[in-house]
């Protein structure tokens, strides 16, 4: 077994998963256990109704309001596009399912590999489009920081190395697989410390906002 | 005599669908090698195991070359078959092991494949063997003659 591959899927993966779990729990608790400023206005709705309305808001706020679509629609579509692509490739590709089965003990049916390959290529195209958009729009470029670019890099590297491994292109297979797994390891380690944490924050964050506003009677 | 008793030799024609690209390429190569053989006497061979062929292409190639006048079999560590195809000078050599698995397969462009030619070393053994046989026979006759006489 190639030493790099052995390392990537052995000690490095264990370290990556450990750092990931450590980091995610840290950041989740560090945020959710913070104090909330007490609201001074009387509650308009009961807690349960506020919770339900808040949860609905998380859904309705997931697409720009009509007024803003012209400006932000393209970016939103790109984002949804590659997120969907990533979910499909990560969760419905047979070798990945085998990986998750090792973690949680159960697997699930996979999509045909050829279909996954097509979706992965489309996802890569969208990721590239997203980068182009980020550097070509002046305001966006000014707002972008290391986190933005580095997170993008790790995700894209994972998709690229995954495609190369599946296509057996660019070197001996064990090397390609090693680089793909190392990309995943790097991604797992970086995950809790950058913007990728939005994966855990986004829905709780929207629901909490929705709940808070609903209590005040302001949600819709 | 029935019609079916009349031996018929089919000149190599391809299967109904025509030849695959791989088989055609090989045939072109064979043609070039044959021309060189005639011109300079230089022999050539193609290792059929080294060529990636689609399933059925090998059969199409064999059918295209057809069967010629010579069909020789020799047994040495498994059966080997040497036959001239319908194209003179193009031989199909197939080596099998004792389990009848093919271990090598060649198309040879030559006047006669080397494997059919008897090696001088083997001839020397043949000479020794035959000499021994004749000597034994002579000795045997002498003995019998001696016995008959007395």
């Amino acid at each position: 077994m190639d030493p790099l591959l052995s390392f990537a899927r052995g000690p490095m993966l264990q370290i990556a998963i450990a750092v990931f779990c450590f980091g995610v729990l840290w950041r989740l608790l560090a945020v959710f256990l913070l104090r909330h400023r007490r609201s001074r206005s009387p509650a308009r709705h009961g807690r349960l109704r506020a919770l339900i309305e808040g949860a609905l808001v998380a859904g309705t706020r997931s697409w720009p309001h009509k007024v803003f679509i012209r400006r932000t629609g393209y970016g939103e579509a790109l984002g949804y596009g590659y997120h969907l692509g990533l979910f499909i490739v990560i969760l419905l590709f047979a070798p990945h399912i085998v990986f998750f089965k090792g973690i949680i003990g159960v697997g699930w049916p996979a999509l045909p590999s050829s279909l996954i390959n097509i979706i992965a290529v489309l996802t890569l195209a969208l990721l590239l489009a997203v980068l182009v958009r980020r550097v070509s729009k002046p305001v966006l470029r000014m707002l972008s920081n290391f986190d933005d670019y580095f997170s993008w890099l790790l995700v894209t590297a994972t998709v690229v190395t995954g495609l190369m491994a599946t296509a057996h292109l660019g070197g001996p297979y064990h090397q390609l697989l090693a680089w793909h797994i190392l990309s995943v390891d790097a991604l797992l380690i970086w995950f809790p410390f950058g913007k990728l944490m939005h994966a855990f924050y986004i829905f709780p964050s929207r629901v909490i906002n929705g709940y808070t506003l609903a209590r005040k009677g302001g949600a819709s | 005599m029935k019609l079916s008793d009349i031996g018929v030799r089919v000149e190599g024609g391809g299967p109904p669908g025509g030849l695959g690209g791989g088989a055609v390429a090989i045939l072109h190569e064979v043609l070039a090698m044959l021309e060189r053989l005639l011109r300079t006497g230089e022999e050539a061979a193609i290792d059929l195991r080294s060529l990636p062929m689609a399933p059925g292409e090998l059969d199409a190639l064999a059918a295209a070359l057809g069967q010629g006048e010579v069909d020789a079999v020799f047994d040495g560590g498994g059966r080997s078959r040497v036959r001239e195809t319908a194209v003179h000078g193009v031989w199909w050599v197939e080596h099998r092991d004792p389990d009848d698995e093919i271990i090598a397969s060649f198309i040879e462009i030559t006047t006669v494949p080397a494997i059919l030619i008897t090696d001088p070393a083997d001839i020397r053994r043949g000479i020794d063997g035959l000499r021994r046989r004749l000597a034994q026979d002579a000795a045997g006759r002498e003995e019998r003659g001696g016995q008959a006489n007395g």
Binding site: M1, D2, P3, S6, R9, G10, L13, Q14, I17, A18, V19, F20, C21, F22, V24, L25, W26, R27, L29, A30, V31, L33, L34, R35, H36, R37, R38, A94, P95, V98, F99, K101, G102, I103, A110, S113, S114, I116, P172, Y173, L177 | E43, A44, A45, D47, R49, S50, G76, G77, H95, D97, P98, D99, I103, A104, F106, I115, T118, D119, A121
Partner: protein, 369 residues
């Protein structure tokens, strides 16, 4: 073993065995084909081999199971591989030779002296270095000493089997005997690694024949293995590849997929990272190879394959712990404590942040929910 008349050529030995030059030519033609040499090379090979004196070969066995030698010598019917024993003069092999003890050692020393600089040294088994090399001793000397001495006068060294080539099973974790591969100790002579557990007999034969007819070892890959046999991975030549490409995998050893001959990736097949000729040359005179018989490839021709994780753990999963299997329990053992520590740190961070706020704000504190 060594013929009484050492001046006999290979051809003369063949004749004495009743093997015709024609049969020998067939053997050479098949071997040339297997070595991917030009098609007419067989003739030159036969001519060259038949006219040379039988080359001397010394075969040393160290930490091995004898599987490699068995692979070469056991056959159900006389095969081409046994013909190689007509070509070489096997002057020492402690498993095959009739002599034993001092007589055998003397024969070896004699052969090494007479053929100094010209004999081929074939080694199977790893060499233990722990505790002064005491874990393999023969005739009062350690394996390391025997190997170094034999290598001094050898023209080249052939490490047969993964143990000799890469350390194999003896070197696997925890390597209690301090086993090392042959190439670690022999650094001043050409060494070729014919790895595999065991190697395919034809690969051993082919390498030897190449050496004798070309006068040098074949082109080698990064691990010192003949490229012609180890240049492709099992995966590259696997007949089940279409199923892999379509994503049709057998999930257990007797499910519908397994019965239909689907890809064995999910059952732990190491074919994609293993380089050997199993998928083309196959085993037992081309009968079959592990995948064709329904078992995933173990990766037995690769360095460290014993420590590469469970044989039944797919390449897609991790290699966790000694057993090398990634299962929920093993993952939880690491993820749990890590998450616990993270939670503590997170709670601590939140508490600290709260404490700071409390000092700087006037309101009575306490939080919403």
């Amino acid at each position: 073993m060594a013929e009484p008349d050492e001046t006999q050529t290979v051809g003369e030995v063949l004749a004495a065995q009743g093997i015709s030059r024609r049969s020998f030519l067939k053997f050479c033609a098949a071997t040339a084909s297997m070595l991917a040499m030009p098609p007419l090379m067989g003739r030159a090979m036969a001519k060259q081999l038949a006219s040379m004196r039988r080359p001397s070969v010394i075969y040393l066995s160290f930490q091995e199971c004898t599987g490699c030698l068995e692979s070469l010598t056991r056959s159900f019917s006389p095969t081409l591989e046994t013909l190689i024993f007509n070509v070489i003069s096997l002057d020492y092999d402690d498993t095959l030779m009739a002599a034993a003890g001092e007589a055998a050692e003397k024969a070896k020393d004699e052969a090494m002296r007479k053929n100094r600089g010209r004999y081929l040294l074939i080694v199977d088994g790893a060499v233990p270095m722990g505790n002064g090399g005491v874990y393999h001793t023969a005739a009062g000397r350690s394996a390391e000493q025997i190997l170094r001495e034999a290598a001094k006068g050898a023209a080249a060294v052939v490490s047969v089997g993964t143990c000799a080539a890469f350390g194999g099973l003896p070197l696997a974790d925890p390597n209690p005997t301090g086993a090392v591969p042959v190439s670690r100790l022999v650094t001043d002579k050409p060494v070729v690694n014919v790895s595999g557990c065991p190697p395919i007999p034809a690969v051993i034969t082919g390498t030897l024949v190449h050496y004798y007819t070309q006068g040098k070892l074949p082109d080698l890959d990064g691990h010192g293995r003949p490229l012609v046999f180890y240049g492709n991975s099992i995966h590259d030549r696997c007949y089940r590849r279409p199923f892999y490409d379509k994503g049709q995998f057998a999930k257990t050893f007797d499910d519908e997929g397994a019965r239909n001959g689907w890809c064995l990736w999910e059952l732990g097949c190491k074919g994609p990272v293993t380089y050997n000729a199993c998928a083309t040359l196959k085993w037992n005179d081309g009968t079959s190879f592990p995948i064709e018989s329904g078992h995933p490839c173990l990766g037995c021709s690769e360095p460290g394959f014993w420590d590469g994780g469970s044989f039944y753990s797919p390449l897609a999963t991790g290699k966790w712990g000694r057993a090398g299997e990634m299962r929920p329990k093993e993952v939880a053992a690491i993820a749990g404590p890590a998450a616990g520590v993270g939670a503590l740190v997170g709670a601590g961070a939140a508490a600290w942040a709260r404490g700071r706020r409390r000092h700087s704000e006037q309101d009575s504190g306490g939080e919403e929910d």
